[in-house]
């Protein structure tokens, strides 16, 4: 069993073993294995829902943001960890989702529920032309291309004052009153998060997800097999864009505003960091990374002014010494322990 983690991020890098490690457990899954496999996620959701009734309002508000970021990071990791496409432009869709809700209310008085459903659809729609252009470039140039789109979106949002209210952003009562209470807001965002992660999990573990990983590991071979690489990557880009936009719409429940910084390239960098911190070779890694990142931020800024310094050092240490992130590292540890026990 091999990691399909950071070692294989460069598309076409044929090193590092098999193509589909996530689905090749040491033993074939029998009925006895299926129950415990479902038990973990279900327990997690139950605990998270219960927390909605236990935690204080402040923490619940933070958790709203964290959950939006968790979806943002997981959707970005579909490109990063699965397809091996390093995008620094996912904030385009995140911001688009937030602006869909805000501007729909501002200009056309659209109800929140309508714009909330529209957000991922618009995200997918906008991802098509951006993906068509950006995917012409590869590796580093793809990253730079998506970064340029992110900056373009930021500039547009900032300079088109009549439509977007410019740098001020859009504030208003576009979120239904029921969702402005920390607890209901949290439970709503949690429900959307669970649904999104389940869908993304399905994508990851579908034949399509398998082809994405195969392209990442050996682009040339997949092309020779007759796989349309461009189309597969475009589809991944569109799916990721849709979920990033949904995450942006979720973020509005927390922020009740939308502003240009949501589109800028440093916002695009956020989910990449989260994925790296949590481990982009694992499905839940980016979501865990989002928790650590946002909670770390909120706790640290209270005590020290040098939040960036701490983030920089943590990031540097992870990148240099622990490249498969927290969950990747824990997975390695668990396998090591299991092997030890098996040897005995």
């Amino acid at each position: 069993m091999t990691m399909y983690g950071p070692s294989g991020v460069d598309v076409g890098d044929p090193s590092e073993g098999s193509v589909d490690p996530a689905e090749t457990p040491a033993r074939p899954p029998g009925r006895t294995e299926l129950v415990p496999r479902l038990l973990g996620p279900i327990a997690l959701v139950v605990v998270m829902a219960a927390l909605g009734f236990l935690l204080s309002d402040n923490v619940l508000l933070t958790l709203q943001e964290v959950l939006a970021l968790a979806v943002f990071a997981t959707a970005t990791n579909l490109l990063l960890g699965q397809a091996g496409l390093v995008s620094f432009g996912q904030a385009v869709f995140y911001g688009l989702g937030a602006y869909t809700v805000a501007l729909g209310w501002l200009h056309w008085q659209l109800p929140f529920w309508a714009t909330f459903v529209m957000a991922p659809l618009l995200g997918a729609l906008v991802a098509v032309p951006i993906g068509l252009v950006a995917l012409r470039a590869r590796r580093l140039y793809f990253a730079l291309s998506t970064l340029a789109f992110s900056e373009l979106a930021y500039q547009l949002a900032e300079s088109r004052y009549d439509f977007t209210k410019g740098a001020n952003g859009v504030f208003g009562a576009f979120v239904p009153t029921a969702l402005t209470y920390p607890r209901t807001g949290y439970l709503f965002v949690l429900a959307v998060t669970v649904a999104s992660l389940l869908l993304l999990w399905k994508v990851n573990h579908s034949p399509f997800g398998l082809v994405l990983r195969a392209i990442r590991e050996n682009r040339g071979r997949m092309q020779a097999l007759g796989v349309n690489v461009y189309l597969h990557q475009l589809l991944a880009f569109v799916i990721s864009g849709a979920f990033c936009a949904l995450a942006g719409a979720m973020f509005v429940v927390y922020s009740q505003s939308s502003y240009p910084e949501l589109l800028d390239w440093t916002t695009s960098g956020g989910p990449v960091f989260m994925a790296v911190i949590g481990g982009m070779g694992t499905f839940l890694g980016p979501a865990v990374g989002a928790f650590i990142y946002q909670f770390g931020h909120d706790e640290l800024v209270r005590y020290v002014s040098d939040w960036q310094l701490v983030l920089g050092v943590v990031l540097l240490v992870i990148v240099m010494f622990w490249p498969d992130g927290l969950l990747g590292g824990l997975g390695r540890l668990a396998r090591l322990l299991r092997k030890r026990r098996g040897d005995r």
Partner: protein, 291 residues
Amino acid sequence: MDLASLVTPLVGALSAASSLFIVAAGLTLVFGALRLINLAHGSFYMYGAFLATTLAAWSAHTGLWIALVASPLLAAGMGVVVEVGVLRRLYAREHLTQLLATFALLLIFADLALRFWGKGVRGVSPPRVVRGNLELAGAPVPLYDLVIIGAAVVVGGGLWLLLSRTTLGWKIRAVVDDPEVLAASGVNVRLLYTGVFALGALLAGLSGVIIAPQQAVEPGMDAQIIVAAFIVAVIGGLGSITGAAVGALIIGIVETMGASWAPSWASTFIYLLMILVLAVRPWGLLGTPER
């Protein structure tokens, strides 16, 4: 339209292009030899500018002249530390790792700079010899604009001489194509990498001093310049010094023209231009495709 009304904006555009070129040249030089995007380039630039303001505050007359030597040296020193301490260990890894590492460094340097220099906006006026305006074809031209243009010519010419006329230059060009063969022929490739990286940092520090009298020196200028330098380097073609010059000219002219004709569209147009170039020639106007 007479000549005089054209001269002032033209010199302005050339001066904007020149300052962009000096920053982008270092970035693209490092990418050319090391295949590495160095986001911390912006930090070296900012530290150069900050040190210049400190020295100018310490001695109004000679401070900036001292900074002209001290800032590049500080930046080069930081470059050596970064290369030996961090980047050297990451050359074998993929682009994302290197990109993230230099981004982490950008964050670290930014917060450290806040500790040393605080949050305020700092300024420094140009040395007395190059203050004021000059009459050129009947139009007033800021003298310091000409200094920046001159500096860009010197840097560009110097880099061209270095790369095409010296042994060190051919080593730098050779290391891109085949580091193994170069090492086998007795060149200390590790030292060469450190040297090139330090040279790139030196250029960033130098541009920091040169630009300091013309722009607000403040926190955040590091991330701001790195995006601008990127656009220039990417449009021209990463790794190509001539490309950086061409890219800087294009952006300088578009920026200056845009600022007078359609101010609210100027920056949007620049990113559109970058996307257009990346879509048609992902490796830039004068760059070479990745293998």
